[in-house]
């Protein structure tokens, strides 16, 4: 099973399982904690078969206590293990908020203790989950120095970033988009690879407008780019991949090239990462901007349940197309 990396197409969720499997096989310090991840294989089946393969002390079913088991993971990490914690849904990370922001994030700064911890959080909407099973909680954590935050959009990035997160000596929040789990596939390299934390990726190169985004929205941006290319508008799609620390270099280079920017995310508009990037650009790239910096993001509401509401809530390809057209004539 360590050779799960056959040259065949794997889904985004498979890529996550592979990364866990390979890292656990490679490094016996790596272990997993979470609700129902053992015999059941996790709510989304990411760890199916792991209990059998790695035993119950490396695939630990926990009591229903996010603060408790995140705290425990912090302790184990400080002792030199490499815990990977699963939130059953990203939404429940609010229950562990204090441990993440006050303990994990600050320990190294305060007294020098490294906390090599990964928290996997299946996030995002489009799955009819309603207010408590669709959240994008990443916005809460930009603001806590000491945390790294990643959010892959492809199987390759999902696998590479998870491996990098596990090998990182710091607490890393790993936001995996559950809408993408079984919807996208890719052939992955057979050999071990990582995607370095802190590096954005140009998912489509273009000259007219930079769409800066991450997670499931990357695919919307690519769709919009295809449509717009027929109308002679050439989008560059910048996939952040890492939200903290931001890859300013890649972002700025793209914006210097295009001079026009759309910030696209699924997280609520106010206080999303779009705000931060906009502010960075207004500070550091002001002179090269040729138009307003657009943000395309959901309104400031919880994620509603009913289909027409959720559709209204989520950014759409047409929003990007409309935004790009507006910018193009600027």
């Amino acid at each position: 099973m360590t050779t799960a990396t056959l040259a065949q197409e794997v889904t985004y969720i498979d890529a996550i399982s592979q990364a866990l499997d390979e890292e656990m096989s490679r490094d016996e310090r790596v272990f997993l904690m979470g609700e129902d991840i053992g015999a059941y294989g996790g709510a989304f089946k990411v760890t199916e078969g792991f209990l059998k393969k790695f035993g119950e002390w490396r695939v630990l079913d926990t009591p229903l206590s996010e603060s408790g088991f995140v705290g425990a993971a912090i302790g184990a990490a400080m002792m030199g293990l490499r815990p990977v914690v699963e939130m059953q849904f990203a939404d429940f990370i609010s229950c562990a908020f204090d441990q993440i922001t006050e303990v994990a994030a600050k320990n190294h700064y305060r007294w020098g203790a490294a906390v090599p911890l990964v928290i996997r959080a299946p996030f995002g909407g489009g799955v009819h989950g309603g207010p408590f099973h669709s959240e994008c909680p990443e916005g809460w954590f930009f603001h806590s120095p000491g945390l790294k935050i990643v959010a892959p959009s492809t199987p390759y990035d999902a696998k590479g970033l998870l491996k990098a997160a596990i090998r990182d000596p710091n607490p890393v929040l790993y936001f995996e988009h559950k809408f993408l789990y079984r919807r996208i596939k890719a052939t992955l390299p057979q050999e071990d690879f990582i995607v370095p934390i802190g590096k954005a990726d140009i998912k489509r190169s273009g000259g007219d407008i930079s769409v800066i985004t991450y997670g499931a929205m990357v695919h919307l941006a690519l769709e919009a780019a295809e449509l717009l290319s027929k109308e002679g508008i050439d989008l560059e799609v910048v996939d952040l991949r890492t939200l903290i620390p931001l890859d300013k270099e890649t972002i700025y280079a793209s914006v210097r090239k295009t001079s026009k920017v759309i910030l696209l995310h699924e997280d609520n508009k106010t206080g999303g990462i779009g705000a931060e990037i906009s502010a960075l650009l207004a500070e550091d790239c002001f002179d090269c901007l040729d138009g307003p910096i657009l943000r395309i993001a959901p309104p400031d509401t919880p994620v509603p349940f009913s289909t027409p509401l959720e559709e209204f809530f989520l950014p759409k390809v047409s929003d990007i197309v409309a935004g790009a057209k507006k910018l193009a004539v600027y």
Partner: protein, 333 residues
């Protein structure tokens, strides 16, 4: 439950009404499960199948102006409080006719006018909230009680602890319960806690506790009535452990292969509806034909509800933007 005690302590009409609500819960949830299987309900469906006696029993033991913060398998409480099958199905289908008008799904509904606090996914979060409702009653010297609970899994959360402690220190008029159905999703009790009776948890708060047969609606009702009366009398909170078994998967997508078949079989014959029917028969309150009639009646009500829900429109997309903030007139009096 001893039939003499029941005959003495529970009014015949009350018991018959509880039986009706057991049936209505079952009929409604069976329909919801069917809808789920047809792909008409998106999102999770968590039923109270085999556990209906708990919510029906406690809701029946409360006064109408008492407040309930239900657990996620307490459909019966909604029904007792007057939520119609139509509203409930509309809720599951995301229709405007549901209590949340499509804003939230499944059992995540509430209505303060009917004394139902909306369930929050984050388990046990509503336990401090219920303690606070009880605090309001105490501050205002009202003779009202709050009733709130969570699952065996939910008792592991910090909010359970903080709520139990706070309520006990201030002797608040609240009754807390745990529906101990042996599993939390796939996690068996032994991985959840190092005790076999959840009621042990109450000792940490100096709170009286009681184990209740969660499959016996009469037992549930009487135990709740005692605890509620105590709370109302200013004697503080009680913790009730309802022993039962989750007979379906965690949600309807879950085949629950991790539950041993024998365990399910053993509990099958303790089905709360069968138990209630046996009790009613023994008391001479009802017979097969009566039970059949109630079954048909509840099915009919669910059919009518289904029609209502079908006809209820979906919300318009821009309704998304409505309701983030409350207006002055929406505050409770």
């Amino acid at each position: 439950m001893d039939q003499a005690v029941v005959a003495k302590d529970i009014k015949r009409s009350d018991l018959l009404e509880m039986y009706y609500y057991l049936r209505l819960t079952r009929s409604l949830e069976d329909r919801i499960t069917a809808l789920y299987r047809q792909g008409r309900i998106v999102g999770g469906v968590y039923t109270s199948h085999g556990m209906e006696a708990i919510a029906v029993g406690y809701a029946s033991a409360l006064n109408p102006d008492d407040v309930i913060a239900p657990f996620h398998r307490d459909m019966g409480a909604f029904l007792v409080r007057g939520f119609t099958p139509g509203e409930v199905i509309a809720q599951y289908l995301g229709k405007q006719g549901g209590p949340t008008k499509g804003k939230d799904g499944n059992v995540h509904m509430g209505d303060l006018k009917r004394g139902m606090i909306g369930f929050v996914s984050h388990l046990a979060d509503n336990m401090p909230v219920a303690a606070g409702a009880a605090l309001a009653f105490k501050i205002r010297k009202e003779s009202r009680v709050a009733f709130a609970g969570t699952g065996d899994g939910g008792t592991s959360r910090g909010d359970f602890h903080e709520a139990m402690n706070l309520a006990s220190v201030r002797k608040l008029p609240v009754v807390f319960f745990c529906t101990n159905n042996q599993y939390a999703y796939s996690t068996p009790l032994r991985y959840q806690m190092a005790i076999t009776d959840v009621v042990e948890r109450a000792k940490a708060y100096g709170m009286p506790g009681e184990i209740v047969d969660g499959n016996d609606v009469a037992d549930v009702y009487l135990a709740c009535r005692r605890a509620i009366a105590k709370a109302r009398a200013g004697e503080g909170p009680t913790f009730l452990e309802f022993k039962t078994m989750r007979m379906h998967g965690h949600s309807e997508h879950d085949a629950a292969k991790y539950v041993p078949r024998e365990l399910l079989n053993a509990w099958q014959c303790k089905d709360p509806i069968i138990c209630a029917e046996q009790l009613l028969s023994r008391l001479g309150y009802g017979d097969e034909s009566y039970f059949h009639e109630v079954l048909e009646r509840t099915k009919k009500e669910v059919d009518i509800g289904m029609e209502f829900a079908e006809q209820s429109p979906l919300p318009e997309g821009r309704e998304t933007l409505v309701g983030v903030f409350a207006t002055d007139d929406e505050v409770s009096p």
